[in-house]
């Protein structure tokens, strides 16, 4: 039987993740054997890139920190240039269980959707996010539903599978810092179909979240404005 993940590229954006990245990469190799992995080192100052290379994982290294969205976009370009059919975004911090990869990829491969979003809230799970984050999720889930009529309970989920066409489009046009609600609106407006897939998520094991305090003030403003702009822009 051919490996169901042979044309899938797992893209791991990483910024100063030397503590959790090795375990994450090892877990991917163990639970999803044979899948290709790419680490996008977003300007780390620690051994992130080195540790990935030691495991034989190719690393694209931004010389400066550009943000998680830009890191993902770099991964898309790599995936498209090398002919992968599906790109899966997986966080370096060990939040996402690689065992769920096949389930996440399946609807994209079957043509049921173009973007599959691994969500912890489709079914009940023991994960409890901090209050501010929960409020943000409810807010932007509502924004997406009103804007494009798609029900996505967790717009911030960083565990997603993108089909090839989506990656081709996103290679050129993609939010730099937070690839969340505005991205989903922009993709839906282009006619791409989004679907949520239930996954269980774990707590961060180490390292720092991309969503820091300073950004938590800027985040709602930026995402609101960007969501509005995604609606006003004509899909090209």
């Amino acid at each position: 039987m051919p490996n169901p993940l042979s044309d899938v590229l797992v893209i791991v954006p990483a910024h100063d993740e030397e503590e959790s990245l090795p375990a994450t990469l090892d877990e991917v190799a163990r639970k999803a054997p044979g899948v290709d992995v790419l680490v996008v080192d977003d300007g780390s100052h620690d051994r992130t890139a080195e540790l990935a290379r030691e495991r034989g994982v190719p690393v694209l290294r931004h010389p400066v920190n550009l943000g998680v969205g830009a890191a993902l976009q770099t991964g898309f370009r790599y995936a498209v240039e090398r002919g992968y059919a599906i790109g899966v975004q997986l966080d370096a911090d060990g939040q996402h269980d690689p065992a769920a990869l096949e389930g996440l990829v399946a609807p994209v491969r079957d043509g049921a959707c173009d973007v599959a979003i691994g969500s912890r809230y489709v079914t009940r799970s023991d994960y409890r996010a901090p209050l501010a984050r929960r409020l943000g999720m409810v807010l932007f889930s509502g924004v997406v539903r009103i804007a494009v009529g798609v029900r996505i309970s967790d717009t911030t989920s960083g565990f997603r599978a993108y089909g090839r066409e989506v990656m081709e489009v996103c290679r050129w046009d993609f939010p730099k810092d937070f690839p969340d609600a505005p991205l989903l609106i922009a993709l839906a407006r282009r006619g791409f179909r989004l679907q949520e897939v239930p996954v269980t998520m774990r707590r961060r094991e180490a390292g720092r979240s991309f969503y820091t305090l300073g950004k938590s003030l800027y985040y709602p403003y930026k995402n609101m404005l960007a969501s509005l702009m995604a609606l006003l822009r004509r899909p090209t």
């Binding site: 996008v40 690393v59 694209l60 290294r61 931004h62 010389p63 770099t74």
Partner: protein, 124 residues
Amino acid sequence: MTFLSRAQIIVALGAVALALVVLDLVRRRRLSEEYSLLWVAATAVIAVLGFSTPLLQALTRGLGILYEGSTVFAFGLAFALAMLLHLSIKLSRMGHENHVLAREIAFLRLELERLRDGGDRGNA
């Protein structure tokens, strides 16, 4: 002929001095011609308004402003806003260009590493 007020003279001379500084910066290649345009235009307008009382008065009346000084300030403020917006736009574009370049470097570096590794194996 109306006499120039002291404030008017100071404003006008200040504008001329600024224009000279801007032009000198261009001469020494510290400021690109592109950016000097807005500065030179602004200082020219302020200087003309400063030296020519009738023009300033006519403009002030025409715009419905009560006091001539406000006209000069209004033009100065308009210029400052235009310049800031211009810089914000430039900055956004440069940020985008930076991203593209950083990404390009990342790809080139990976390619270089691959070539080097392949070369090592070939020699062994």
